[in-house]
Symmetry: C2
Subunit: 161 residues, 2 copies
DNA sequence: CTTCCCACGGATATAAAATATCCTTAAATT
DNA sequence: AATTTAAGGATATTTTATATCCGTGGGAAG
């Protein structure tokens, strides 16, 4: 099991989009060029983000995407679930029902004990992602990325909006 | 991203194997029949568990598998990692290095901030799985599965060893 | 009003991974 | 000697991920 690479793309794109000035947009083309990923495919990820209400797009020249909410209102989970879906990473097929010793009167009032644990782990994963916001990421970047690179990057983005 | 169905199979198989009396074995055939899953493919999962040292197998008639350790010494994580691997569910492709504003002298002393969060979430997932042992599962089953079914199942297993 | 740039979405192609089956080998039991 | 079984290699099938292509229509600018 490995997450789709679109998760990585989407997360980095949202990070970049935090640089976009209010009322302006950054195009898919610019985002694809910035990350050196195929534009058409990246477009699918951005569409998913758009449908999830995380970013909003507009058409025409000077069109593109921008964040639909403040960075402090967007969590990693929002982004990952937009790409990966909200369903659990563990799919219980109710294998326990195949137990040959079961009879018709053995109904299942409780969910499968194995699945419960797996779902709990899934919830722990999601809780961690829910606990980190885009604004937290920006703060971390400010602390770890060289100031000149950060500044140049911001200028690069603004220049393309 | 969805976990392989072999995880479910492996977990349930280990649960069943806790019924096996000392010095005896339960065959792949019996486990496949019990769960109604394809024997040949289940065999691959059991081989993975064997290689991970969670179960041990022996050949010949009356051969099969048994737990290699006490149920209290086997965690959900042990089993899931035997099937799914120990690698993180998030693969960082260092997309940040494609930032066109970067120059040669911009080295990365810190890991990618996005990846760090994703890895943290992965660790939370694993920690939850590490916190549950096969013995805990047995306890839960004792509390939630009808006593007669539990007993019949135990007898079914012992009968096949 | 015309032209161009863009998001959006459908259709399709390709690559990779998961799922599944088949078969051979060698070890243990009877 | 015959049978049962794990182990593991090879291969086939199905599903998912990755990627590309193209048509539509909205919006900006000349």
């Amino acid at each position: 099991m490995i997450l789709k690479n679109q998760n990585e793309w989407a997360l980095h794109c949202c990070s970049v989009l935090s640089w976009v000035p209010p009322e302006r947009y950054l195009s898919t083309k610019a985002l694809a060029e910035f990350h050196d990923v195929p534009k058409e495919y990246l477009s699918k990820a951005l569409q998913a983000l758009s449908q999830a209400g995380i970013v909003e797009g507009t058409l025409g020249p000077s069109g593109g995407y921008r964040l639909a909410r403040k960075p402090s209102d967007i969590t990693f989970l929002d982004i990952v679930e937009a790409i990966e879906g909200k369903g659990s990473t563990f799919a219980c097929t109710e294998i326990r029902k195949n137990n040959p010793c079961r009879t018709a009167k053995h109904c299942d009032n409780k969910p499968c004990a194995v699945a419960r644990v797996m779902w709990e782990a899934d919830a722990a994963w999601r809780n961690t992602l829910r606990g980190v916001r885009l604004s937290d990421l920006a703060k971390t970047l400010k602390e770890t990325v060289p100031a000149d690179l950060l500044e140049k990057t911001g200028a690069w983005v603004v220049d393309r909006t």
